[in-house]
């Protein structure tokens, strides 16, 4: 029996070599690799015009970290805004969808099926088409150009997916756990809080991660709903930098870009598997 465990359960067949497909995909992946490589190289180097090989090391592209450009908000304020924006979205999405998902999976509420259908339709629904109406609504509510407004909107748009995923996760928790809890005298709320929620911790983490990345990357909502200097987030800041600079300085753009993208890449590197599950389950884009 001992050797059985060490043998892969489904070893690939020996009839087809992997080399041709690996070669093909390597070739196809080259453009992406080049783009990402130069994203990093260009931030710390200068090259002679017309050359792709960097000729000198420099930190000048990173000046934006300690010098505020005229007409632009301070980068640290923007970063703070982004962190607040992202964390709030994550918190709202997690709290609200972990509750609602449980209800849809387990509790007997009126119109449960209807709500579930609604969530599923909205989950597939292209929410960005609503941006015009949302823009006007926020104007009416006085939430235009405020972080709180755009946070609520972004959370609302992410919620159907979150609820849908959480419902799926709860569905995998065995009923016996809850039955045992109820028999032991716990209320349904306690059962949820103390018995069920701990079961799906990895799922909660995956959804939290997804919300975080989705919030961190969001561009069009803050661009339209909160473009002001006081409430700007990194995506809007960077887009503004690129848009109104006639003298393209890719070194600086990319330095800001790297500053912006590094947290994403770190999270991605560590939690790639979790994210693959979620992105494979169907998201927008």
């Amino acid at each position: 029996m001992a050797e059985k465990t060490a043998v892969p359960t489904n070893p690939a067949s020996a009839n087809f070599s992997g080399l041709p497909v690996i070669g093909l995909l390597t070739l196809l992946s080259l453009p992406l690799a080049v783009m990402y490589a130069y994203l990093f190289i260009d931030t710390i180097s200068n090259s002679q015009g017309g050359s792709l090989v960097p000729s000198e090391f420099t930190l000048e592209h990173w000046r934006f970290l300690w010098e505020t450009r005229p007409g632009k908000p301070n980068i640290w304020l923007v970063t703070l805004n982004t962190v607040i924006f992202t964390c709030c979205i994550t918190a709202v999405t997690l709290t609200v969808s972990s509750m609602a998902g449980y209800v849809l999976s387990r509790l007997n509420v009126p119109a449960r099926g209807f709500f579930l259908a609604g969530v599923m339709v909205l989950h597939a629904f292209p929410s960005v088409t609503l941006i015009i109406a949302i823009f006007i609504v926020l104007q009416y509510l006085g939430l235009y150009n405020s972080l709180i407004g755009v946070i609520l909107v972004k959370a609302a748009i992410d919620l159907p997916l979150g609820i849908w995923l959480m419902k799926g996760f709860y569905d995998t928790v065995p009923w016996e756990i809850e039955m045992a809890g109820v028999v032991d005298g716990a209320s349904r709320f306690t059962v949820w809080r103390r018995l069920v929620l701990p079961q799906i911790k990895p799922a909660v983490m995956a959804l939290g991660l997804f919300s975080f990345l989705s919030g961190w990357s969001e561009f069009i909502l803050p661009q339209v709903l909160a473009p002001g200097a006081r409430v700007q987030v990194l995506s809007v800041y960077l887009a503004g930098l690129i848009a109104d600079d006639n003298n393209f300085d890719f070194g600086t753009f990319k330095a800001v870009g790297v500053f912006y993208v590094v947290p994403v890449l770190i999270l991605y590197a560590f939690f790639q598997k979790h994210l693959m599950n979620i992105y494979g389950g169907g998201t927008k884009g």
Binding site: L116, I132, A133, A156, S235, F248, Y268
Partner: protein, 433 residues
């Protein structure tokens, strides 16, 4: 009420409220706004009545006399004016005489008014006549009235006799706020531009979907299937990067690749091609890159969905087909592809919706250019309502354009719901309380 039901309602309430307020309400409001002519000019709150030159011009065709009358000042002998006369220190009996004999009269021109003044017993000096007539100079031009009654009252004082129909016309011409209208849909249906944008959208969605979101995704899923697991996961990680990377940076990288001094220009320079901006050089190259930019993002979802579907095919099916003599192509053709039918349908449905609505990438890369050659429907709606160079943002028209997408979206997602049989996903709670 049962406690679990109560708990359920409490726990679902936050989700319901947020979704209702910021998701469902905008859906309905998109329809509502689509029926208005809201724009920067009208503002989004209730407007006022103002006789501007533009309003007069609007009236000219229907009521030329009224239009001419409104645009010229009239002279009305009213209490306001009479009180002001005190400041002019005229002869003591003049004001009383004017009030007694002419209060309420309207004179169509300064000449007529001054003739009347001169004809009074206490005739003022020529210099004073001018001052006095100035005091009674009345016009509604460029005056702002908060409501319709105030405007009509002023017009009546000026001696305009208006029938109810006329009043309607005047108020409509002078209203500065937004009004209900179906014009937006007429504009959409009749405009030449819209037709072109519709074509662009169809082309963009079909080509991106076929080549990348399904085609290239299949290629990625199938090729990674034929690799050792560790190599496969490296490639999947690479091809998920475009989706993970924030869109602003992702598009920035493409811009760097394609601009005049960018990678492609430098690379092509080695073969003697002059540098150019490959992104915006021509409609063809713009489309090429727009589809590539979106396709690289779009391929990842299909890749993951198809990969897991292939993984779900029992390994022995592959073994069996190999001992049955199938080569790699035959294995793909007869074993893998037939079993991916549902995942392909799923991805097609889903990504059609996403592609129809997404304009992030096009906005950040070509902005719909060069010219309007890569303008798609959702981007056009955005440009109309939220960002354009003329500065007049037409919320109403933009909402109407978005409404088209909303309707398509709702229909497609309902079909999607039916196709994927959500009802099988609702299970009865096993704890009955």
């Amino acid at each position: 009420m049962k406690t679990s039901r109560m708990l359920g309602l409490v726990m679902i309430a936050p989700a319901a409220i947020i979704i209702l307020l910021f998701f469902l309400m905008p859906v309905i409001l998109t329809a509502v706004f689509a029926m208005t002519n809201m724009s920067t000019a009208t503002g989004i709150s209730a407007g006022a009545y103002q006789v501007t030159q533009a309003a007069v011009n609007r009236l000219k065709t229907d009521m030329p006399e009224l239009a001419a009358g409104i645009s010229e000042p009239r002279f009305v002998i009213d209490e306001d004016g009479l009180t002001q006369l005190d400041a002019l220190k005229l002869k003591p009996g003049f004001t009383a005489e004017l009030r007694a004999s002419h209060l309420g009269e309207v004179f169509l021109s300064r000449r007529e008014a001054e003739r009347m003044i001169k004809s009074l017993k206490e005739r003022p000096s020529t210099r004073e006549v001018k001052q006095i007539s100035d005091v009674f100079n009345r016009s509604v031009m460029n005056t702002r009235f908060e409501d319709r009654a105030a405007l009509m009252e002023s017009l009546a004082k000026l001696g305009f006799k208006l029938s109810p129909q006329d009043e309607e016309k005047v108020s409509r011409a002078t209203y500065t706020g937004w009004i209900w209208t179906a014009d937006n849909f007429r504009t959409i249906a009749n405009s030449q531009d819209m037709g072109q944008i519709l074509l662009n959208t169809g082309f963009y969605v079909a080509v991106t979907l076929l080549l990348f979101n399904v085609g290239y995704a299949l290629l990625l899923a199938v090729t990674t299937h034929y690799m050792p697991a560790s190599t496969a996961s490296v490639f999947r990680a690479i091809w998920l990067l475009p989706r993970i990377t924030p869109v602003v940076i992702y598009v920035l990288m493409w811009k760097w690749l394609t601009w005049d001094n960018g990678f492609i220009s430098l690379f092509m320079g080695l073969f003697g091609h002059p540098p150019k901006n490959y992104l915006l050089d021509s409609a063809g190259s713009a489309w090429f890159f727009v589809i590539l930019i979106n396709g690289f993002i779009g391929a990842s979802m299909g890749m993951l969905v198809f990969s897991s579907a292939i993984k779900a095919i029992p390994q022995t099916h592959f073994y069996a087909s190999e001992v049955d003599g199938a080569n790699r192509w035959q294995q793909i053709r007869y074993i893998i592809l037939p079993q991916l039918r549902w995942p392909i349908l799923f991805v097609t449905c889903y990504q059609t919706l996403s592609l129809l609505a997404s304009f992030n990438e096009i906005l950040l890369s070509t902005r719909g250019g060069p010219g309007r050659s890569t303008e798609v429907w959702s981007l056009a709606a955005y440009h109309t309502a939220l960002q354009n160079y003329t500065g007049n943002l037409e919320y109403g028209l933009g909402a109407a354009m978005a409404l088209v997408l909303v309707v398509v979206g709702v229909i497609l997602s309902l079909i999607y719901l039916r196709v994927f049989r959500y009802d099988t996903l609702v299970t009865k709670p096993l704890i009955e309380d």
